[in-house]
Symmetry: C2
């Protein structure tokens, strides 16, 4: 039986959608990847990843610590930063540099340089897939600089927030 995969644009993150499906798909991929790469999926790592998946919003390390504390986990700074390091290193999460905050990766499994769209009204974040975001650099620059990674963060207003604004007026 063939799986039919309906490809959804990243902009769904900004709208109402079946988030349970998002969550479950990501969580399944997380489990699968950890198994394949023989990475230890500990309760702490699982919990932090769960928090990062909550609602397409980036969260700060200290917010994570608060939530860990409420759930009975130890919650001193290194606890959060170490798990975040692990998740980022393994390609399961990203840091949003602009906001010193963290979010689950939407295309997990290998390290990559993401492009984010970030709504400054609702704070929701969408990670674009590579084919939807291409940085075109001029030939000379490319020849003189060996690119290793990139930070691309687009800040603006998502359609939902924009429409709300229009209605208000």
């Amino acid at each position: 039986m063939k799986k039919i995969q309906i490809k959804k644009a990243v902009s769904k993150n900004f709208k109402k959608h079946n988030h349970k499906l998002c969550y479950e798909t990501s969580m399944k991929a997380f489990h699968k990847n950890c198994l394949e790469k023989n990475l230890k999926l500990t309760p702490l790592r699982l919990k932090v990843f769960e928090l990062l998946l909550k609602d397409h919003r980036a969260i700060g390390a200290y917010q994570i610590l608060d939530m860990l504390s409420k759930e009975g986990f130890s919650s001193t700074p290194p606890i959060a930063y170490r798990v975040l390091d692990f998740l980022i290193e393994q390609g399961f999460a990203h840091k949003i540099e602009r906001f010193n905050a963290f979010i689950a990766c939407s295309h997990p499994g290998s390290k990559h340089s993401p492009t984010f769209m970030i709504c400054r009204k609702c704070d929701k974040v969408a990670e674009m897939c590579e084919k939807d975001s291409r940085l075109k650099l001029d030939k000379k620059s490319l020849s003189e600089f060996q690119i290793e990674e990139s930070v691309i963060e687009i800040i603006g207003i998502c359609k939902s927030c924009n429409q709300l604004e229009t209605i208000k007026c």
Copy 2:
């Protein structure tokens, strides 16, 4: 008499070059812009801009404070951050988000979203001009997100550092 402007690629920032010329050109533009926009070019602002222009490297706020202190300026954190805010707001400087550090703008005069190439060996930074860096986003994303600004930071190894490495081997 027509001015002949020899357009230099940003990659010059990574190489030996006539930096006195860089410095003077930028400083002249800073003075001119402040005059035109009726902005107060105070000793403090001038000094901070000067520091940011030093050598195509981004510097942190607390490094700036150290240097201000050595030059007899007051040097508590708000001193630096306020001047940096002014310079960024007016389009004379940028923050490199990835490193929480600041650098003079290479195309000053109006606010814009820069693209940086940053060498992780020598820490030198080059701000690309708009025509040399274009972010191509897919149509759907563009139609569903109103872009206001972007952070684009490319990290890698510059040609000079790369050659040094090769020679070493």
